[in-house]
Subunit: 460 residues, 2 copies
């Protein structure tokens, strides 16, 4: 009854629309998809399997191959008409074991306190202990001002998330340079080690790893992150002591590149099979956690959308590819290979969507597309609003689908769940299954399925 | 810089507005409130204090008095110009200890399995073991059809949350009758005990308590809730066995009513001091948890909004009352007393807002008010959208402020955070501080502060 009233309420929205614009039939079909996903959804159980049987799955690791086999099997078991593997060379960074950092002396006096650290991804270390005076700076500006003090020191960057930015990805964007470039910026002035405040808004002390890159012009010094509580401690200690001595070691190294795979399921279009819609997430994760939100959620969203389409008997007009990308975290080799193959085969990619911001409650989508296309998509908002989508903005997409846009000018779309909790767990040990909520995860799949259905039906 | 661009973007929204309608100055002031709360907010630390030093605080308990003293102190410490206590008689239900339920025989064979249960709030029990055959039914319809089988049995209601309802409060609304009336409906046909499936969408097995009421016409039988996993087990067991014997006992009783208090802070209006705006949450909780989301969040939202107004030096035009209500959970005596006093003093209450749906990421507000007032409030949406408010709907409010509407026709408003996780913890042992996210909690206060500012400035 309620359902019927709701559908009638939609009528005014569409009364003036053209035949090709969304209709009550669309509202009914999206409700069917939603009911299927909220009632019979497998995303949560799939995530449990991926996180608990495979766990962390960094590119090139044995777990990467387990994850690929799991993905092929899951897609096949759920009825994918065709599943293929697309090979690409991936880097193989290995963290090693025995990393540490500790305070050893304060103002000359022996005083040992261990810090909870994680080496940054791609960082190198021969495991030899580096012991030096700490130079704590707030940011690159302060480093620049104090560059004459850096020689022989371990530099600590205390740059923290901007709490006033409601969209936490903006805070991440601002702070990310310290993780990516902090070590080489410090090494440029003679630093022998680098520690950064983790990129997080969390209240817990977990350190957060993530990709960094060395500038080949400077020494490749050990690079680590500390969690917020250790960061606050280090910072206040540095302010009140004239010398703080720190000892640290890392063991990161690269093994030779190896072959990884994008896992691709496809449902052929009935009317415009040459027009391809891609939906995906990345199968790899960092090595220190289960990659539950990053990006197990995107992986199971992708599989769930396929499952729901098949379960309700939806026959798409266009070809839909469900892609579990390889190696997003420290190479983007999967996304690059996917776009290169698309270009080589002269494929027509009309739309690509990625879910890589976690399995949280849905908020909306963001597009990289011509303004008139985004405006057209915004007419679909009333259809998705009952499920949590309240905005469709510009400047969005996802790392793995980026090369499709650069190579083929494909319009991109990123699924936007609520971002408040993402950086609590992002690249930290706490990114585990237990921190994903079933209904939030399933609702993400509902909104993505609804949007993909509309793109398939009306084009983009 | 970004800030300025954002404000300029707001200009078109207001270019045609009247002098009394929201302006860029409002956007700037709300940003000031938001920055204050997101940077210096005390809500999370206050919640820690309330949950960890007081803990569960059911009406009439010693903890209720501790919570009242904590509330007075917190408001005073944060600079409330005036704090008062408003007395009201509250019920005093005591759970007692030693409650249990267990399966003792399956198809005549001894087979003991304990169930994790919580007695329903207000239920009575003399602690004597009740042992009887289980009659498992899906709902009241099935009970009615099988009423001849009920005599001497323990009735189990397996009614579950409707997973297809995106707004979980709607599912709660549908399922709530089993908790409230299940025991007496079963006793009507001779049942000797009643167990219900908890009102939850959780994947965990925690049982959820909550208020029930006996119909005085029928025996007051023991009433308990089991969590979802035990519920699934009971249901499948009942389907596959001809007799399942269950043993249970509860120890609930009422002690004489005692005096509780609403805690009220007030900032006098500078221009229309006789016009009163109320914002509140309820200070009591159930006894089995810390009442972190229900309704510690509403309590600290209320205090935080006051703190932020004072911190930025806001002098309201109208009188704003910040109310920590007594005894929402099993009596509503605080809200009733507040409205009765308002009526007796012939006060002019122009608006009342309650936060009692948890400390989750904000989504919007719902009003009980004349349609033209809601439409007027909707013009404020662009001002609150940057902080998460995307809807202002009708039919809303909060239990504690309900009597104000009934007595004085005061327009009501309920703060609506995202509802997906609320019934995971609602009235369960898991409603603890650790399940509240700092940024989600603070953002709630931002949106409430913004709305109250607008109501104060423009009236309602």
């Amino acid at each position: 009854m309620k359902k019927i009233i709701y559908l009638l309420l939609l009528v005014p929205f569409f009364a003036l629309s053209q035949a090709t614009e969304p209709s009550n039939a669309d509202a009914i079909f999206i409700k069917k998809l939603a009911d299927e996903i909220l009632t019979n959804g497998k995303a949560y159980d799939l995530l449990y399997e991926l996180t608990k049987t495979v766990g962390g799955r960094i590119a090139g690791s044995p777990a990467m191959y387990q994850a690929e086999a799991w993905g092929v099997n899951a897609l096949q078991q759920l009825g994918a008409p065709a599943v293929s593997k697309q090979a690409c060379m991936v880097p193989r960074w290995v963290r090693g074991s025995g990393d540490f950092a500790k305070i050893t002396r304060i103002d000359g006096k022996k005083q040992v306190r261990a810090l909870d650290v994680l080496a940054l991804g791609n960082s190198l270390g021969d495991g030899k202990k580096v012991e030096a005076i700490l130079l704590a700076v707030q940011n690159f500006d302060e480093l620049e001002k104090r560059k004459d003090e850096v020689e022989g020191k371990i530099v600590y960057f205390n740059n923290s998330f901007d709490a006033t930015l409601v969209k936490t990805f903006e805070a991440y964007g601002k702070a990310g340079q310290y993780r990516r470039n902090g070590a080489s910026q410090a090494a440029k002035y003679g630093a022998v080690g680098c520690i950064i405040r983790s990129l997080t808004s969390s209240t817990a002390n977990d350190p957060h790893t993530g990709g960094m890159a060395y500038n080949d012009s400077f020494p490749k010094i050990p690079a680590q992150a500390v969690g917020p509580r250790d960061a606050d401690y280090l910072w206040s200690l540095a302010k009140q002591s004239s010398t703080v001595k720190v000892s640290m070691a890392t063991h990161g190294k690269f093994l030779p590149d190896t072959t990884g795979h994008n896992i691709i399921a496809e449902i052929k279009g009935s009317q415009f099979p040459e027009e391809i819609i891609t939906i995906g997430g990345h199968l790899d994760s960092w090595d220190v956690n289960e990659g539950a939100h990053d990006d197990g959620a995107g992986v199971v969203h992708t599989i769930e959308v396929m499952r729901a389409f098949l379960a309700v008997g939806y026959q798409p007009k266009r070809t839909i590819r469900f892609v579990l990308f390889a190696n997003e975290e420290n190479g983007l080799r999967g996304g690059t290979a996917y776009a290169a193959a698309a270009k080589e085969k002269n494929e027509k990619h009309i739309f690509a969507l990625e879910s890589d911001e976690g399995g949280f409650t849905p908020r909306g989508f963001s597009f990289t597309a011509a303004p008139e296309k985004i405006a057209a998509a915004q007419r679909w908002l009333p259809l998705l609003k009952p499920y949590g989508t309240s905005s469709m903005d510009d400047i969005g997409g996802g790392a793995d689908i980026g090369p499709l846009n650069r190579n083929l000018n494909t319009p991109l779309c990123g699924f936007l769940p609520d971002s408040q909790r993402y950086f609590d767990v992002h690249h930290a040990r706490s990114d585990v299954f237990e921190n994903v909520n079933k209904r939030e995860l399933l609702l993400g799949a509902v909104n993505i399925a609804g949007l993909i259905f509309l793109v398939d039906k009306y084009g983009f």
